[in-house]
Amino acid sequence: MVTGKWELNKANVVANEWVSRDVKRITLLSPGIAATASPGQFVNVKVNSTYAPLLRRPFSLNRIDKDKGTISLLYKLVGEGTELMAELETGDLLDVLGPLGNTFSIEEDCGDSIFVAGGIGVAPFYPLARLLLQLGQKVTCIMGARCREDINELDELRALGVNVLCATEDGSEGMRGLVTDVLRAHLRSTKCSMAYACGPNPMLAAVKAVCAEHQTPLQLSLESHMACGIGVCLGCTCKKGPEEGYVHVCKEGPIFWAEEVAL
């Protein structure tokens, strides 16, 4: 175990359970990471000790339980790495590095906040919601998915006290349509002082446009193909906003102000 700004440890798997048809939540005993982590940060995990796959896989912190010393990751099975992760059982060890990256910016005396989550992009929002609710803020979360079966964390966020609105492509949960339709309607009726979004880049670009119309400040949680997670390989870039050049998702991010980046 290495401790410093970042911890590197072989964490005990406490639980690894199905949440929906292709999404699991893995809970790891990692008191060091839990102690220093904040909402928005991520970890980089090596799913096994072989060269297949070679690289670590980055995941947002979906739960940070400082009392129990655990962290959880909500992950969608999309390929080799996540499928191997899904096989882990309670008591197995997982090589985890973190907490990495920056955190969501919080304004203490803020009014209402709005989250926009596309698919598995809901992952980083639970710890953020807890923090904002503790500060006495009102939180609304718009969740987008193809259909009801692909919606995660609905009950958990509601139980926290979040006002959850859904948009599904087939109308099987909430409104039929896109998250941006719900967002536009919401911003028309309710003044929000801060928006937070996580999901596929095309969705983030659309959310950015809607928030700009309503002059709502927006923070984005970005993804990019990543290797080291600690800022040395310079691989995980996103184009900067109006300026030339690139930001690095692992180092300057993963959370950016919408104006900082061009999606």
Partner: protein, 335 residues
């Protein structure tokens, strides 16, 4: 550490004997005689370095271990002017490998000196600056600019970057070009120069001989192998530049073969790299004739690669009854 020690040094070759312990030297305190090495006139705590572009400028790894176990930190490639790097997706994972198209993103030589050198100087670890240019003149001007800068111990001349449109790998592809860059750099700096060769050539030994003849103090190899990947959904190459550089365990057999060939062709020390991820890999490179080795892609998936490899090599030397790592260098070669 001041630059005095290396500037003007012409000492070549690896000393087979451990240097005498000198109590005064801060680095000696943590050194281990089994591994301490004198290479390019630089006193190194071990013949093990970071590979350029996989270690940033050292800071991040100080989170995980004491950097003084390294023989030198080889920093990310530096150019005269800052470079933003390449557009689009920059990384493609392959079986046991990684294709990168970073495009030499760096803050430029002045940015490097101001932003990164203070930490590196403070660390006390010898620094080797990896340099690139679009023309031989640009390499030479960079070499001159870095000459005499405190804390810089050697230059690694990158004539093998596959990710820039001009220069880069083109200079490493022919004996004439490689020789020309080496000669120009040699004239403009007193720092030891290590020329980093490209594996994307048909006859690596002749290129190694050409740079040796122009006064290179050492050779490092390999840089990345030219590779590509195609996204079968978009039906387009993943990388905007189409090709990128393949590194990691997948390239190790090729790298080892090239180190072997070059070791048979030149008399200057070789820094071997390419896929080294375990102490066993490291031992193979020393046995093939590398006086030192560098760890690259392994740093990404295992931040403790450096200390683990060092510990493993030490244990191996003990178990083999060897007194110093120099005994290992080239030991697999025909006598």
């Amino acid at each position: 550490m001041s630059s005095k020690q290396s500037a003007g040094s012409t000492q070549q070759g690896i000393s087979q004997q451990p240097p005498a312990a000198s109590g005064q030297d801060k680095r000696q305190a943590t050194s281990d005689n089994l591994l301490s090495t004198n290479l390019f006139g630089i006193k190194m705590n071990s013949p093990l370095m970071s590979a350029s572009g996989t270690y940033g400028y050292g800071k991040e790894f100080a989170n995980f271990y004491n950097l003084s176990m390294l023989g030198a930190i080889v920093v990310k490639g530096i150019t005269m002017k800052p470079r933003a790097g390449n557009s689009g997706q920059r990384l493609v994972e392959t079986p046991a490998g990684l294709i990168n198209s970073i495009g030499l993103e760096n803050p430029g030589v002045e940015g490097f000196l101001v932003q990164e050198m203070p930490f590196l100087r403070e660390s006390g670890v010898p620094v080797i600056v990896n340099i690139s240019g679009n023309t031989p003149e640009e390499y030479a001007a960079l070499a001159e600019r870095l000459d005499g800068e405190a804390g810089i111990h050697a230059l690694e001349v990158n004539i093998s970057c596959p990710n820039v449109k001009q220069g880069g790998m083109a200079f490493g592809a022919s004996c004439d070009m490689a020789a020309a860059v080496t000669a120009d750099v040699r004239k403009r700096t007193r720092l030891p120069i290590i020329v980093k060769l490209s594996p994307n050539v048909t006859d690596i030994a002749s290129i190694a001989r050409a740079v040796e003849a122009e006064g290179a103090d050492g050779i490092s190899l390999i840089n990345t192998l030219l590779g590509m990947g195609i996204d079968i959904r978009n039906k387009k190459p993943y990388l905007d530049n189409t090709f990128g550089g393949l590194s990691g365990p997948a390239v190790k057999p090729v790298a080892l073969r090239m180190v072997w060939q070059v070791a048979g062709a030149v008399n200057i020390p070789i820094v071997g790299m390419g896929g080294i991820s375990t102490w066993q890999d490291a031992v193979e490179f020393y046995l093939a004739g590398a006086s030192a080795i560098a760890i690259g892609t392994a740093n990404f998936f295992n931040p403790l690669a450096v200390p683990e490899i060092i510990e493993g090599v030490k244990a191996y030397l003990h178990s083999e009854g060897m007194q110093h790592i120099g005994e290992l260098v080239g030991a697999a070669r025909p006598k």
